[in-house]
Subunit: 328 residues, 2 copies
């Protein structure tokens, strides 16, 4: 294992310390490093909290700030945070508007956020994201997995909360965005969890994992590595097919898993764009980069969110976080 | 070689097409894909142009936009662009204020930008960056190499040009920022150039390349992999030592080479911060991420720029590019 670290047990703590120091104008660290929260809170605003296993950075800590999340709870690598972390985050950032938990659909996360909701003193609601069309159920989830589309839910609901919508409105909007969102990922290599010290899975030099999950868990099938346009076509067909006959203006997010260079992500964007347009999607907004990662895994995912005028305005609204910043 | 691509010869063209489509609100592609330029030009402003081999993305195309570059010329992977590309870019974006070329100190780049300057019809000046303290001369450079500090020069001079400074003022400022900037990089793995199809260099499982260049070219020495705090200490001592007795407020840029996840970059930031502060530097501004990369190489570099009030204001000034965006 070749990684920049001191002790395996200190990786998350040291990394969080660096993150909050580098972005101290935006975030600060909660007590006992249980969560990352916004430096400035807005009284009465619905508080948006997400979290999940570490190793997907910048998700979720990098999305804490104006126009997006109020707090993020990082678990150990690829391991759900505890209900205790989530409840502490809620107590810290709920300023009277209630708390909306945004939870990726993995069993551990869903259960722990449920327990956190029971511990809560204020009003609590939740949105569960399940945008991954690869599988109907997986090793770690009942039903579809929540993957890169979670970013879109956090951005759009974050903007709505900033504009003063109440808890029920934010929850309903989150469900609507999740329903309008589909993703699919492809991995070329595995990643290595620091505590494991060796790759999560083995994959041949001429193979790829089609429909991979963001922890490297298996997807639809192990297939031969193909040219980019062939991969893009399969991804676009899987996503487009899952939308049924729904077409129209959309956001295309091409998300790197951590180990794929920008040059290849933009090449994939170009190939995906062509295939989605051929299917009748009209790409109105784009985002390309490493946003929902699996440590240093090589690979990428495509996410489409169907946009109407309201969702487009909320996507475009100002955001000021470590990883997404525009309009301010 | 496991990469997302169709034909090796089309990688740059397809990637540029994707880049300019995804960011069509900011950039457009020049004739024959010779350069990427700002969508909107400002009459009479000094035009900032940079360029170099591809494979370092987002450098330089990702830094084209308001408050930074006017055009960027991408060569083949790790190969200088041609004088023809640079001259075409100059003709396209010079609106009467003259052209400032910002050139990383590599022999091919310096020679080709020199030839481009001779072809120019308008007024032309140049700044050569040579911030890498690793070596006094290298395989590909006479004198020190220009590496991640180039980003800082482009950002600060970009802000000054936006504010109306003339060509000579921009050139002098660029030289001043370059002189106030020092970098050093460490690689854990090699990268693979698509046309080569195999890793640029071999490195053992327990080794790292200390002082590596951004093309994977050798640095100071091949040493055993060490804990992050030891690596950070060596990097901070090399950079701090090179500054002599100069200390004070600074920018710390922790730059990933492409294959190192955010978790490790922030962990390195935390360790570097501690060592630089111990040496008497006061970190006033921070930037952490993949900005000046070597395709998918695992590793990172540290850059320190000493800041005064003027440089701090120019660093903070609004910027709107694909890869750096704040204040607007």
């Amino acid at each position: 294992m070749k990684k920049f670290l001191n002790n395996v047990d200190d990786v998350i703590r040291e990394s969080l310390a660096g993150f909050t120091a580098a972005h101290r104008d935006i975030v600060r660290l909660g007590e006992e490093s249980k969560f990352v929260r916004r430096r400035e809170l807005k009284k009465g605003k619905v508080a948006l909290i997400s979290g999940g296993g570490s190793g997907h950075e910048p998700l979720h800590g990098g999305f804490v700030g104006h126009g997006m999340l109020d707090a993020a709870c990082p678990g150990a690598v690829f391991t759900s945070p505890t209900p205790d972390q989530m409840a502490a985050a809620a107590q810290s950032v709920d300023t009277g508007g209630g708390v909306l938990y945004i939870v990726k659909n993995y069993e551990g996360d869903v259960m722990n956020f449920e327990m956190a909701a029971e511990l809560a003193e204020g009003e609590v609601a939740r949105v569960i994201t399940d945008d991954d069309v690869a599988v109907e159920k997986s090793t770690w989830s009942t039903g579809r997995r929540g993957v890169a589309g979670t970013l879109v839910v956090e951005k759009i609901v974050g903007a709505a909360a900033e504009q003063g919508r109440n808890l029920e409105q934010c929850r309903a909007l989150g469900e609507r965005v999740n329903k309008a969102t589909r993703s699919l990922g492809v991995a070329l290599t595995s990643c290595t969890i620091p505590a494991a010290g060796k790759p999560t899975f083995q994959i041949g030099d001429a193979e790829m994992e089609f429909g991979v999950g963001i922890h490297g868990e298996p997807g639809r099938r192990r297939v031969p590595l193909a040219p980019a346009r062939g991969i893009a076509q399969q991804m676009a067909e899987a996503i487009g097919g899952d939308f049924g006959t729904s077409r129209g203006a959309c956001l295309l997010l091409v998300n790197g898993f951590g180990g794929t260079p920008a040059m290849e992500l933009y090449l994939m964007y170009e190939n995906l764009r062509a295939h989605f347009e051929k299917q009748g999607f009209s790409i109105a907004r784009s985002l390309v980069g490493n946003y929902v990662t699996s440590l240093e895994m090589a690979g990428c995912s495509a996410t489409i969110t169907l946009l109407d005028d309201e969702l487009t305005r909320l996507w475009d609204a100002p955001v000021h976080t470590a990883a997404l910043r525009w309009g301010m």
